[in-house]
Amino acid sequence: MKELLSQYFIYWLILVLFMIGPFGMIYKKNLVKKLMAMNIMQVAVIIFFLVLGQKAGGTIPIEIHGLTGVEHYINPLPHALMLTAIVVSLSTTGVALALLLLIQRRFGTLEEDEMLRRMNQ
């Protein structure tokens, strides 16, 4: 059990974080909370990739003079990919906040039930 924990436990943590996304999307009625659930989900994916890039005994992926060899540096590819993913996540959040601002101005609420009621009036 202890071995299993040391080998996989971060994955479990990431999956819990990841599943917060869909669960929050369904069971939270406040739009801001839904947005937060979405963000947590994206962060979980980012952590997942970064964990994949990690190596025991590796240092940051910037060349140190005199230190050559693949095993001394952690995998740079997930880091590069996740820089992109972070930016995507930031952009999505920005657009979502702009939409929330509009919804707040037009309907005066961010609670989903209340909003739907006012929309159908």
Binding site: M25, M38, M41, F49, V88
Partner: protein, 493 residues
């Protein structure tokens, strides 16, 4: 320059989009010509690439000159080339159509609308031609963000619809990215061809099974497959007409294409979890076809009816994938083509009617055949094609699907196809009846002043797509034997 054609398909609309706000600021008149020109160049490049691919086999383009597993490559094969031609063509038609809708806007709104429109086009094209799983995600997000913004610009209710679409769409994209992460963790590669190679010994691995599930859920959300279609009706209903026509025409189909690409090219070794996933997909699609059609009957808003019909139609495409033999796949790909043209045409008609009468409810379509004969002619063709009557395009894709289902011995699917055709007939004949049979309401058609039924820029695309449906229907055999036969897996050269 000829060697650069695959890059031009995406780069030209992308780079034009970047300077579109500047062009709008300098000269709003030039704007439409530039935008249309950029999409035209993209369309011509796609056609050129497709022709060469049909003659010489798949074409690989390396970005930055780096060899595939390390760099990003574009792969044009008959399937992706054909999709690129389709997307850029629909985009071109809708770009022409969108002109009158933006006439009275400020330069800022015009510029941003066209920039987002070009970004949406470039994003979808990039998703289709790329050979790299992560590059696909980046372009997926470009197209999605542009689509959210375009939908949200349609008014009050559209904002809510766009926000919901944003949340659900991002969940879908996250699922896709996590799926790619699982694949990366067991193979160490992101290139699709390389992935296919390195997945062969791993088909029984639980991580691959999870990856299949993740990609399935992610793309099912993005293409609004039945239990996950919640975002679609509102988005399509409240989006501004040009955006609705383009988004409804191609966006969900591109996700279906991605699913096809992954399931039949990347996970091409057919052992392991893929057949099980396809079976689940098939049943979801079958239920979705019936429920989408039934919901469409219940609607009184024309656009909402079309939106529910989209849920049903995406089911056909997935059904073809689930059948999985040659006829099934041909039917699926042919239906991607047909449905893109038909649904765009119908949404263009809806926008035209809104322009003329300011109404969207089906009741107000009464006796429109006098006021707008050409538009309603195109509508009639598109509607008959949706129902699936023989000379039109829609018949042939259903025919191939049915052939595939018979060959695979999947009788329930045939029942679903026949039943849904009847349901389609019910809701489309209701509209046709209003258009052609009903007397005009209390308000007599006051011989409207402007001689044309619609501005030429709007009428032309509608008629073009209407004729296109007939042409595809008549030429379907040569399309299948010349292009699609090589496009589906196992039929290539």
């Amino acid at each position: 320059m000829r060697e650069q054609l695959p890059a031009l398909i995406v780069i030209v609309p992308l780079l034009t989009a970047l300077v579109t706000p500047l062009i709008a600021y300098l000269s709003a008149k030039l704007l439409r010509a530039v935008v249309t020109g950029a999409i035209l160049v993209s369309n011509l490049s796609a056609m050129g690439a497709l022709l060469r691919v049909l003659a010489e086999g798949p074409w690989h383009y390396r970005f930055g000159g780096w060899a595939p597993p390390w760099g990003i490559e574009y792969v044009i094969d008959p399937l992706s080339g054909g999709m690129a031609v389709l997307i850029s063509f629909i985009s071109l038609v809708v770009a022409v159509y969108s002109g009158p809708f933006l006439k009275e806007d400020t330069w800022l709104r015009k510029g941003i609308f066209y920039a987002l429109y070009l970004l949406l086009t470039a994003g979808l094209l990039g998703m289709v031609v790329t050979g790299d799983a992560f590059n696909l995600y980046v372009f997926l997000e470009i197209s999605s963000l542009a689509a959210y913004a375009l939908i949200a610009s349609g008014g009050e209710k559209a904002t809510v619809a766009a926000f919901r679409y944003l949340l659900i769409g991002t969940v879908g994209a996250s699922f896709y990215l996590l799926g790619v992460g699982y694949l990366y963790s067991v193979t160490g590669s992101l290139n699709m061809a390389d992935l296919a190679l390195r997945l062969q010994p791993l088909t029984e691995s639980p991580a691959v099974m999870t990856a299949v599930l993740m990609l399935l859920v992610g793309m099912a959300i993005k293409m609004a497959l039945f239990p996950l279609h919640g975002w679609l009706p509102d988005s399509y209903t409240y989006a501004p007409p040009p955006a609705a026509a383009f988004i409804s025409g191609v966006m969900t189909k591109v996700s279906a294409y991605v699913l096809l690409r992954f399931f039949f090219f990347v996970f091409s070794a057919v052992s392991g979890p893929v057949p099980a996933a396809l079976t689940v997909l098939g049943w979801a699609a079958a239920v979705g076809i019936i429920i989408g059609s039934v919901m469409a009957i219940a609607q009184s808003d024309f656009r909402r009816m079309l939106a529910y019909s989209s849920v049903a139609q995406i089911g056909y495409i997935v059904l073809g994938l689930a059948i999985g033999n040659m006829y099934g796949l041909i039917g699926a790909v042919l239906h991607i083509l047909n449905h893109a043209v038909m649904k765009s045409c119908l949404f263009l008609v809806a926008g035209g009617v809104k322009w003329k009468t300011g109404e969207h409810t089906i009741e107000k379509y009464a006796a429109l055949c006098r006021q707008m004969p050409l538009t309603m002619g195109a509508f009639l063709i598109a509607a008959l094609s949706m129902v699936g009557l023989p000379p039109t395009a829609g018949f042939f894709s259903k025919w191939y699907l049915a052939l595939g289902a018979i060959e695979a011995g999947m009788w329930p699917y045939i029942a679903v196809i026949v039943l849904s055709s009847l349901l389609n007939a019910v809701y489309f004949f209701r509209v046709i009846e209003h258009v052609y049979m009903k007397k005009a309401g209390p308000k007599p058609a006051e011989a409207s002043g402007s001689g044309m039924e619609l501005p030429a820029a709007m009428l032309l695309p509608i008629v073009l797509l209407g004729v296109g449906i007939l042409v595809i229907g008549i030429l379907n055999e040569s399309i299948v034997t010349q292009i699609l036969q090589y496009a589906i897996p196992g039929g290539g050269r």
